[in-house]
């Protein structure tokens, strides 16, 4: 068994229609699938010339990450997304299939680390930044990365996990994004939380909601335990009393 310890100093989350603690509290008591929506979070804190190219995925990441980073210099960032910029990828592939020239903007922003690149430019932030795509337990692998940065002496680490609703064409393969969402965690050294990894003799039943949102429910509620299984890995999040 291995474990890491940390504090979750602050968090932010966004999904269409859910942009306040109250809204998340209500959702968390009675989770429902959100209706399809083109709504994107407000990022008017960015100059117009800088935000014009941001996809909804990028806007979600910025909207949860920016307030957590406020006033903090040298804040490393761990960005996690399993599927990434699927709408951009789909548009590029559609252009290719139609033998159309590719949009340089779409192409340059379709790579997985494009968002952390924009983050670095817009904030003038040169700390360590990582972009992860780690299948079904990306949040935990991101936590591991963050814990390593904390252990190395970072006073705080920003973790952002976000998923965009993939285009319809991918629906046969992508079944873990019921609606677009983003969660940001400001992590600091401490022992409020313990995350442990065990191997499972049998798999836990598949959770109904994305794991980042299950964790949010734990953060908002009285529960002290939150478990997540992927393949033969069982991750246990424990809030210490």
């Amino acid at each position: 068994m291995s474990e890491i310890n940390f504090n979750i100093a602050q968090w932010r989350a966004w999904a269409p229609g859910l942009d306040s603690v109250d809204a998340w509290q209500a959702w968390s008591r009675q989770p429902v699938a959100l209706p399809g929506s083109d709504a994107a979070p407000d990022v008017s804190f960015l100059p117009a010339m800088q935000r014009r190219r941001l996809s909804r995925l990028a806007r979600m990441a910025f909207s949860v990450g920016w307030p957590l980073a406020e006033g903090r210099k040298n804040l490393p960032l761990v960005f996690i997304s399993r599927h990434g910029e699927t709408p951009r990828t789909f548009e590029i592939l559609s252009d290719l299939a139609g033998e159309q020239p590719l949009s340089p903007t779409q192409f340059s922003l379709s790579v997985h680390n494009a968002i952390i690149g924009l983050w670095s430019i817009m904030r003038g932030e040169t700390s360590e930044m990582t972009a992860l795509a780690a299948a079904g337990d990306g949040l935990e692998h991101g936590m591991l990365e963050a814990a390593a940065l904390l252990a190395e002496g970072a006073p705080a680490v920003l973790l952002v996990i976000t998923e965009e609703q993939p285009p319809e064409a991918y629906s046969a393969w992508v079944d873990d994004v019921p609606f677009p969402y983003a969660v940001g965690l400001l992590l600091t050294p401490g022992t409020d939380w313990r995350l442990t990894l065990n191997s499972a003799p049998q798999a836990l039943s598949k959770a109904q909601w994305p794991h980042a949102l299950n964790l949010l429910q734990t953060l908002l509620g009285q529960q002290t335990l939150c478990q997540h299984a992927w393949k033969n890995r069982v991750w246990t999040w424990q809030r210490n009393p």
Binding site: A48, M49, R52, R53, P101, S103, P104, T105, S108
Partner: protein, 86 residues
């Protein structure tokens, strides 16, 4: 403002996602890149693509006068007119 000038301004706004700008905000002789409107190198590529698509003309990215054609709206309009006449 000629029709072509206006058309190119709208193309710039649309292709480059300039949310808060209208055609009237872009001067015919205003510098597009760096200073002036403040467009960057990705915008240059994107605008080149949009011009080629819209006017069915070919732009040689390596030609040394290409940079001059992209100076401002007036030079772009002159370039499009010349290419279409050729």
């Amino acid at each position: 403002m000629s029709d072509l000038h206006r058309e190119i301004k709208l193309l710039i706004i649309d292709a480059l996602g300039l949310e808060d700008i209208s055609a009237d905000d872009i001067g015919d002789n205003q510098t597009l890149f760096g200073e002036g409107l403040g467009l960057d190198s990705v915008d240059a590529l994107e605008l080149g693509l949009a011009i080629q698509k819209k006017y069915g003309i070919k732009i040689d990215a390596d030609a040394k006068d290409t940079r001059n054609h992209f100076t401002n709206v007036a030079s772009l309009a002159a370039f499009v007119t010349a290419k279409q006449a050729a």
